[in-house]
Homo-oligomer: 329 residues x 2
DNA sequence: CTGAAAGCGCTTACAG
DNA sequence: CTGAAAGCGCTTACAG
């Protein structure tokens, strides 16, 4: 019953007799033995930790994703490390290289530019899965996961159109290297209805930004419906409208994206697209597991379905024929 | 120029000639050499990683604290691991024991019961600092950090009283093992003004809970001012009031706690107590550093100052003599 | 199926 | 001040 045998049962080696296996297992349970991770890693044992790179741990989508990853790692006894990355190339590179350890694996939350940047610095040989906005956006040859935001944005836009709005404006989250899927979906819905998409507003992430943009929008009769790139911005827009005495949804309908916990408690409660980033985080980790254990790639696949949650911030435009339509519904 | 010498310069050993030191350093820089953490840990090198235990990575206070810790660790090249802990004793214990590695250190975000529980399982010998609600609450003989929430709650309550409210009600976050400092401050302010504190409402954490409680409060003329244990609950209360047609602050003044990013964009913008959990996270890590390097304890000390942010959700009670006072201000 | 051997990359006493 | 030695706790070929 040498320590090699112990190592074998811990690592599920097939070359152990049933007798030894149970004997060792019993001893392990009895003593509460826990193999030293540092030693395992040093000796070239299997990966058992993930480092997640993210540009933000506070924004809803990011922290929900993190939450999902954490839960998944906990279930299989993986350690989870977190490293925040900035957009500046050198800082990003330093952060990634510093954090990378032999025998580790990584998930990068590459929803934004900083995340995508970080992905760049991760060597090919380390098992990696990226959480991205859309499949074409980046990460060729990297395993990645995403939500179908294009379809969701399209659906939300179509809904607004169906309410009777002549057009729908869009306050996007930052795009790179090309339009975000949320913007593509918005544009597609408009074009399918034969309306020329208006110029998108200046992109941002925060409530603050939404507020700024909202103030500029006030009193513009052309915009009666606005699809926001996320709920935080929608929140800011809502505030700007109220301050200016604009009714929501009377004067302008507003749709958010993500369904943050606060969304349904706003006044008016926010119509939004629910995105299950937590579930996506779990999916990402599941992929990572396959990558690192069997060392074989998995094709990128989509997962949880986004859902349009209709609440109070949307309605037919005032004084349009849609007002009549509403009664008919 | 053996590898021992390299080890010495990396670890700032004094026993190295200036010549060797620079020579080695140059080589390190040139080659981009990074010592293997697993090996260092195995050989008993200095701690260079923290794992933080927290019950939630999504609630504002928790995620802000995490953000602060992350930033601080990044600055000194520490690795940061995160493990979510539950309240159930066995689950908590398993999570903690699983996560603990020799040569690691820990910060536990012990704002709530689950966190306090986790703290229980961390062996004395591992360098640990706890982030807690108040110094007496727990963690005797543990290094810990906290914000002076008692003073802040007292100040907020006094402010409400000064507006002319006959009393102030309180919707607390969960207490254990005794009243939260927020509740103590609230109570103290009331007593100092000679008013008997009303029964606190049922404690909770979420907007959902605030909403439930808010609905119960509607139409109760006795409550004209409410101090909420956090902004999320305040958000829910706000919603309940609006639904019921109660004016805020006309019919009821509401104060939150924490100053979440959304607070100032609500309608009415939320009067609240700003708490810098991110800074507190940094302080926690600073303490940890001292603990682990010099192996000497630091006395627990308080840090960032909470600040009352007066916005729109508070005002004098309607129809009271305070209405006149307002004009006088 | 199961030991003995070698090595993962470091650090820390121990001799010079 | 600086090497040679031993060991941290594992894992993975290699012989039996």
């Amino acid at each position: 019953m040498s320590y090699q045998t112990v190592s074998r049962v811990i690592n599920d080696s097939p070359n152990v007799s049933a007798t030894s296996r149970t004997a060792v297992q019993d001893a392990i349970d009895l003593l509460g033995f826990r193999p030293n991770r540092a030693a395992r890693a040093l000796a070239g044992g299997p990966v058992q930790s993930v480092t997640v790179f993210t540009s933000n741990t506070t924004l809803y989508g990011f922290s929900a994703a993190l939450e999902g990853i954490e839960e998944a790692t906990r279930e299989v006894g993986f350690q989870m490390g977190v490293r925040v990355v900035e957009e500046r190339a050198e800082a990003s590179r330093a952060a990634v290289e510093h954090a990378l350890e032999p025998g580790s694996s990584v998930i990068v939350i590459a929803f934004d530019r900083a995340g995508a940047q970080a992905l760049t610095w991760v060597p090919r040989e380390v098992p990696t899965v990226a959480m991205i906005q859309a499949p074409t956006a980046l990460a060729p040859a990297r395993s990645s996961v995403w939500l179908d935001e294009t379809a969701a944005a399209k659906r939300a836009t179509a809904y607004l159109l169906s309410l009777g709005h002549a057009t729908v404006h869009h306050l996007p989250i930052p795009s790179w290297p090309r339009a975000t899927p949320r913007m593509e979906g918005w544009r597609a819905a408009l074009e399918e209805s034969g309306v020329v998409p208006p110029e998108p507003l200046q992109p941002g992430w925060t409530a603050q930004w939404g507020y700024e943009i909202g103030r500029q929008l006030v009193g513009n009769p052309g915009v009666t419906a606005l699809l926001c790139g996320n709920d935080d911005m929608a929140l800011g827009v809502l505030r700007a409208m109220r301050e200016a005495g604009c009714e929501v949804p009377g004067d302008i309908s507003i749709v958010g994206f993500d369904d943050i916990p606060a969304a349904r408690y706003l006044s008016p409660a926010l119509t939004t697209v629910r995105q299950d980033f937590k579930a996506l985080g779990k999916v990402a980790f599941a992929h990572l597991l396959e990558l690192s254990n069997s060392s074989r790639r998995m094709p990128a696949i989509a997962t949880p379905i986004a859902e349009l949650i209709i609440r109070e911030s949307t309605g037919p435009p005032l004084g349009s024929r849609a007002a009549g339509m509403q009664a008919a519904q």
